[in-house]
């Protein structure tokens, strides 16, 4: 089974998040093993528990939650990028619980283990 890793650098209010989630779902439905998603730059805002997107707009977090529950998909958060954007590992309420606090070392791990790393 081919291994895929994804890096998200675009925020939850970007339409690229929709594309990323579509891509990930297609991969999971195509017998591709998604070994993890890494959130970097403005992508870390996906994990910010205080972000609220208007109810008639795309709710990226609901999709991440479903994927995490169904596939136990590892969602790695670059904590340095997250701290710059109002989250803190010490303040558990600031980070959505489906995300794992990580660092760039995890990105190295994912990139080297995966057959392909794709950035959105």
């Amino acid at each position: 089974m081919k291994k895929l890793a994804v890096m998200i650098t675009t925020p939850p209010y970007s339409n690229l998040s929709v594309t990323a989630l579509d891509y990930i779902k297609s991969a999971l439905n195509s017998d591709i093993e998604l070994i993890g998603v890494f959130f970097y730059q403005d992508g870390v805002l996906h994990a910010n528990a205080n972000v609220q997107i208007a109810s008639d707009e795309f709710q990226a977090i609901a999709h991440w939650q479903k994927l995490h529950q169904k596939y136990k998909l590892p969602l790695h958060l670059c904590i340095t990028a997250a701290e710059k954007r109002g989250m803190s590992a010490e303040d558990e309420k600031s980070i959505n619980t489906i995300f794992t606090v990580s660092g760039l070392g995890e990105l190295v791990e994912l990139t080297t283990k995966a057959d392909r790393m794709v950035q959105f």
Partner: protein
């Protein structure tokens, strides 16, 4: 690291140095891959070529001068640094870089080098 053959990573820099943190975010990735002894090649294209031009000092405009850290590339065994000749020419820039070992490539060679890498991350 669990793999047997090392994969090559390209970091494609496309943004000017001081208007966003893209260059610094890309640099952090380059250095972490370097410190894990993973092969990294740096590519500069479009506005990104400005990150290599000498005589800049971000601290004059209160921006952290992360370009200084480029001098550390050799300590991280980052030796492949490519810049797009066309992007330089379009901006009236000459090959006056603040680090050594930068290779100026024409568009075709640049594209060839870039697509030869197994992973490409773009900033």
């Amino acid at each position: 690291m669990p793999q047997t053959t090392l994969k090559t990573l390209a970091i494609l820099n496309t943004k000017a140095p001081y208007s966003s943190t893209a260059g610094k975010d890309a640099l952090d990735i380059a250095l972490i891959f370097g410190s894990f002894e993973q092969p990294v090649a740096l590519f500069f294209q479009g506005e990104g070529v400005r990150q290599l031009i000498s005589g800049q000092d971000g601290s004059m405009i209160n921006v952290k001068d992360y370009l200084k850290t480029f001098a550390a590339f050799e300590f991280y065994d980052i030796e492949e640094i490519y810049v797009c000749q066309t992007s330089l020419a379009q901006r009236g820039l000459v090959d006056d870089f603040h680090i050594d070992g930068v290779q100026v490539l024409n568009r075709q060679d640049f594209a060839q080098k870039l697509t030869a890498q197994q992973t490409i991350l773009r900033f």
